[in-house]
Symmetry: C2
Subunit: 230 residues, 2 copies
């Protein structure tokens, strides 16, 4: 009976991509403007210039809508992270994170959804997949590379490293919302590198770590040989 597929949707009976795009954009703007808690489908439709039906045909609920679109947006490009040095990798990663968080939409949406994840298990799960897992992946590789090169001790905890790497930058950009200068980033790279256990600055003689004005590195600035375990 209904197993017979009559015909494939065609002509005017196919979803118009432009409208889907408009909904996506409107959702982002609404999410940034009022947050997930106050988000209303009506407002999204209004802002997108479409009808509510247009949204309900595509997504079954507000949660579906947000999850799908946020997950898609988070699947953006990510740097390769193989500059050859720990500090190079950190600088590249920081630049990418800073660039992403400079986007006013992202800097409002991300903290909002992260807060919402604390009470909505589905959002929490999705964010962990598209954000945390990715961060752990990137952080893990970054650390692994550095360990291979001998820049970091072998038993570096990747999770703790991720905290130390993304924590300060996220705090400054998304929470404190203080300005971010190039010299600040340089200092942060050095601070995090040293904090992770790397030898003091050698590849960046121009900018010392945070507040540290050219402390003479007492250790041999040598070849970054392996950590003498134990």
């Amino acid at each position: 009976m209904t197993t017979e597929k009559r015909r494939a949707p065609a002509g005017a009976a196919v979803l118009r991509g432009e409208i889907t795009t408009a909904i996506r954009r409107a959702l982002m703007q609404e999410l940034a403007a009022v947050g997930y808690g106050r988000l209303s489908i009506e407002a999204v439709a209004r802002r997108a210039g479409v009808s509510k039906t247009a949204i309900y045909r595509r997504w079954s609920s507000k949660l579906d809508l947000v999850l799908e679109i946020v997950a898609a947006a988070a699947h953006g490009k990510l740097p390769a992270l193989d500059t050859g040095t720990l500090r190079g990798d950190l600088a590249l990663l920081f630049q990418a994170v800073a660039h992403a968080l400079r986007h006013p939409l992202a800097s409002q949406i991300i903290p909002d959804l992260l807060a919402e994840a604390a009470r909505n298990p589905t959002i929490d799960q999705t964010l962990r997949q598209v954000l945390h897992a990715r961060q752990q992946d990137i952080g893990g590789r970054l650390v692994a590379h550095a360990v291979q090169r001998g820049e970091l001790p072998a038993d570096t905890d990747p999770d703790a490293a991720v905290d130390l790497i993304v924590g300060p930058l996220y705090w400054r950009l998304a929470i404190a919302r203080l300005p971010l200068t190039d010299s600040y980033l340089d200092n942060l790279v050095e601070s995090v590198a040293v904090g992770l256990g790397a030898d003091a600055a050698l590849p960046h003689p121009r900018t010392p770590p945070i507040g540290l004005t050219g402390r003479p590195t007492p250790a041999e600035p040598g070849t970054g040989d392996a950590v003498p375990l134990r």
Copy 2:
């Protein structure tokens, strides 16, 4: 006419403190449960077991209610922070922060309000007064003490230091929501101290910095003499 004050409120005509307390508690719970965006006065009144009027008599609006209560709650006690060493101060501060953020209410309310502050100037202003200013104050003193002792370079940027200090812990507790062990805290203290520009571990020979297993400190483990500026 009306300039004549008839009588001071007395008897049943005075606000009952128990009800005010119940409203405060209910607000916290509601705030944690649904967030600021979805917060409704009706739900607060329902949870507190009082009438809406009881709330409107005390606060003029939802914003007033939240601001007053949150500001009051944030005026809690804070440690003295004068243990005599940078690492001691850090450990004490981390313990305090961790204790505060372990509170399930706080760990849900704070990120939520911080996200809301991005779009609500009044909330932003209040939070800056009761949270950021306090953090900058604490961080500033912590850094100043360390500089005085010669543990940190003199030109340490207090703002950047605050980022490095609170960022990782906030990230782990409020965002990633990963467990927090004592050894993790020990490692974090060491990492942050070194990242800020302190000499490598001397007062904590038991736990190396994150992932660093007993790298021999090449520098003289000496008396923490002043940083050789320039």
